[in-house]
Subunit: 480 residues, 2 copies
């Protein structure tokens, strides 16, 4: 007799969901690593794993918060600058019981206040700490909001394609319907409102109630920064169609061009004024895992709700309470991120030097990578305007597609596996993010160390060009 937790008896939604960022490619890469092969893990935006050093200041503050007895140690000043000591005392005074005590399930009130002040400075509009919840990373927040939203398989969530698979996986897990809208690769992954309208119309014709729309800005995996005009269109569209907008803005510090700085959906909404600014429901997400912080392992994030009623906020609070509280050190990281050292502080110069160094290097790496991909046979790649990823299109020759079929693999999985075996570069196939039929991509982070980048791109080019050589059939391909 089969047992309750045997595969065939599991929750179908669990079985259905897919999460490619740690899927077949990652598992194979982990195996190869165990066998002693050198793997370059570019499957996930995990900067410290690829050698990025943590910023010194926040780590000093957290170390002191973890070891509050050091604050009374006569030698503490030999090891920690005085402003980190003051900051540690500040954050400890905001908690009730230090880092070892559960906080309120929404997060430490004093840190939520600091987040609200940061948002106000950033956007020029006041923000209410009561509408800000701290979370164990942004993903957990997204899951909480989707859980409150999705009532069953007739509830649809508009998700960009290509998308970050957190969305597809969570929607599957919660038994909802994903409604794709396509980003335009030829328009630098811009968002086309006509396409959006078609997606909604088609979903409705199938009896789906479209409830929410997700935007990822800057884009993951696509790297584009949305323009103000585009954001306005999106907000209008959500308003007209009675959708809550989920604004995934975790890459807001990661901008690699000057034409389109990051602008929050909330700021654009407030700038619009009128009824829409008072009525449109918006939830915005941010994190300590990205930017020049890259503190993924600490699991700190927040979401801010706009135009959401107190009764709903209470329900979300109640559900957050079931897991008691987000981790407190991660909350303090978030406090430090929204409230970094100021000019005049002892740690200010070092902090600026370190953070600028990281961002400038990422900008260079984005360029090296895009140029590298565009120098390869049958590869075209938009410039990474923001975020941490490059998403080149790989024009696979028909013979390669046939070979993939024979091997029982999706064509881009086939390509990425070959790449992994040949070079140790662990990417994620485009099919994990969604793409138009017959078009293939891969996602890689731009995170390998700057000095390693030329060798990695050379190794990629060698593999790719040989792969194309092997499978290309000029007659067949020229007809595509």
């Amino acid at each position: 007799m089969s047992k309750p937790l045997d595969y065939e008896n599991l929750n179908e939604n669990v079985k259905k969901c897919q999460y490619a960022v740690r899927g077949e490619l990652y598992l194979r890469a982990s195996e190869l690593q165990k066998e002693g092969k050198k793997i370059i893990f570019t499957n996930v935006g995990n900067p410290h794993a690829l050698g990025q050093k943590p910023l010194t200041f926040p780590r000093q503050v957290i170390a002191l918060c973890q070891a509050p007895f050091l604050l009374d140690d006569p030698n503490v000043g030999l090891v920690f600058p005085s402003d980190t000591i003051a900051r540690a005392k500040h954050y400890l005074s905001l908690t009730s019981g230090g880092l070892g005590a559960y906080s309120d399930s929404r997060g430490v009130p004093g840190i939520r206040k600091e987040v609200a002040e940061f948002i106000e400075r950033r956007d020029g509009y006041p923000s209410d700490p009561e509408l800000i919840f701290l979370t164990d990373g942004a993903s957990k927040g997204v899951m909480q909001i989707l859980n409150a939203t999705i009532r069953g398989d007739r509830d649809g969530i508009l998700v960009p394609v290509p998308q970050y698979p957190l969305y597809s996986a969570t929607i599957s897990l919660l038994g909802g319907s994903l409604i794709p809208y396509y980003l335009e690769e030829t328009a630098n992954w811009g968002l086309d409102i006509v396409n959006l309208r078609q997606s909604v119309a088609q979903a409705r014709s199938q009896g789906i109630t479209v409830r929410a729309m997700v935007i990822i800005n800057p884009g993951n995996p696509t790297g584009q920064c949305l323009s103000i005009a585009n954001l306005k269109e999106v907000l209008q569209f959500c308003y007209q169609n009675n959708l809550v907008l989920l604004g995934d803005e975790v890459y807001q510090q990661n901008i690699y061009q000057d034409e389109r700085p990051f602008i929050s959906a909330r700021k654009v909404l407030m700038d619009m004024g009128g009824p829409i600014s008072k009525e449109l429901q918006l939830v915005s997400f941010h994190t300590v895992s990205k930017g020049y912080w890259g503190e993924c392992g600490q699991r700190g994030g927040y979401f801010e709700m706009t135009n959401i009623s107190p009764k709903t906020v209470e329900e979300i609070y109640k559900v957050a309470s079931i897991s008691l509280s987000p981790n407190v050190p991660g909350q303090i990281f978030l406090g430090l991120m929204v409230n970094p050292p100021k000019p005049g502080d002892i740690s200010y110069e070092r902090f600026v030097r370190e953070s600028k160094g990281i961002l400038e290097s990422l900008r260079k790496r984005a360029q090296i990578m895009t140029d590298g991909f565009n120098s390869c046979r049958n590869v075209v790649c938009n410039f990474t305007e923001g975020a941490m990823y490059s998403f080149p299109q790989i024009r696979l020759p028909p013979k390669a597609i046939e070979a993939a079929k024979k091997a029982g693999k999706v064509p881009d999985v086939f390509y990425c596996l070959k790449l992994l075996e040949a070079t140790g570069i662990s990417t994620v196939p485009g099919s994990g993010f969604g793409q138009k039929d017959g078009v293939f991509h891969l996602r890689t982070t731009i995170l390998p160390a700057e000095e390693d980048m030329p060798a990695i791109m050379a190794s990629f080019k060698k593999f790719n060009d040989e792969f194309m050589e092997q499978y290309e059939d000029y007659r067949g391909y020229s007809r595509m």
Copy 2:
């Protein structure tokens, strides 16, 4: 027109779930605190919030892991003992990228190995690190396993009543059915197999497929420690009824008597031998939040799976991957908990002194509290054999029940609110955990400081005895 995240449009399962530990009483207590009233928060097992000091050794190690640049600082030895430096290096070497990098979604492999070694030392049977997942506290692990188990409202989970509301809330959230089985207050909250059989038979007669059984050992809120004989019966029962057993063993370090030491469900299962030991599916949970650690805010926990097939483990791994990784500092706390200082280590004596001090004081507090409750009019209370709670029965006079009805409150909520207003003691009414009809309780932690305990119990007694005086009707009450 109502908007997508307005209350009436939310997921019904979100609205249905209840979490009393942070429910009406907690919210009212928070209000009173804001107004300046001194509140004693005994609603949640949160030792550091009530003044318990963190153990020094693990905090030193974590501080160094957060600030790895200190390891090269010539002054580090002035502030940190050498064994904490060695341990920090050890844990950093187990990670790939330190505390700022996502780990594998199951947790850092080297720490999972340390957990397996701890289980083997504890139980005398080998444990497989591949079947151990690290989590952001035990609650998150329970939610993951229930999510894999529950397929719909016809799937039932056996839960003790009284129970810790994590279970009822999660089952509601996932749309499953809670099947209660009653613990016997007159038998010191023992588990009666006859009662269990009746619960299952009744659920089946209603078309429910009973899939899993939860035990909490030591008990929350009831404080009992299950005997080996009782655990054997439970395991046999699960085997006969094809149930997976979820063993919530987060209080395994919190034992306040010598007759019944903690024994894990896994050890009893392995000791039984034969087919049951190779077939019965068991998932066991543990945490850094309880015991003498009490590191709730760090969110570290694990679950260990026994007799679960690799295909199911893969599915659980996939879902864990969606939120990328548990927080890494919490994982290191767990490593330290299962691998504390050894005799001969510089930090050993201090560690033993601190941890013994905490446990011995908890034992005294358990006794003071039980005796205190039993000295009150119309209050009877079993001794807290383990865990962190006291769960006295409050025999409410009919007039009090009537007064509650008039106030629109459940009787024990009425009593607990009055207690809160009069004394500042913030408890959780028994109705939040489940209790037999017409019987009333409250739950309080045994965590207030030992020196404050006599005053708290005196304040409780004064309130209670006056309350009883006010509402008691001898004729009415003597008939009960």
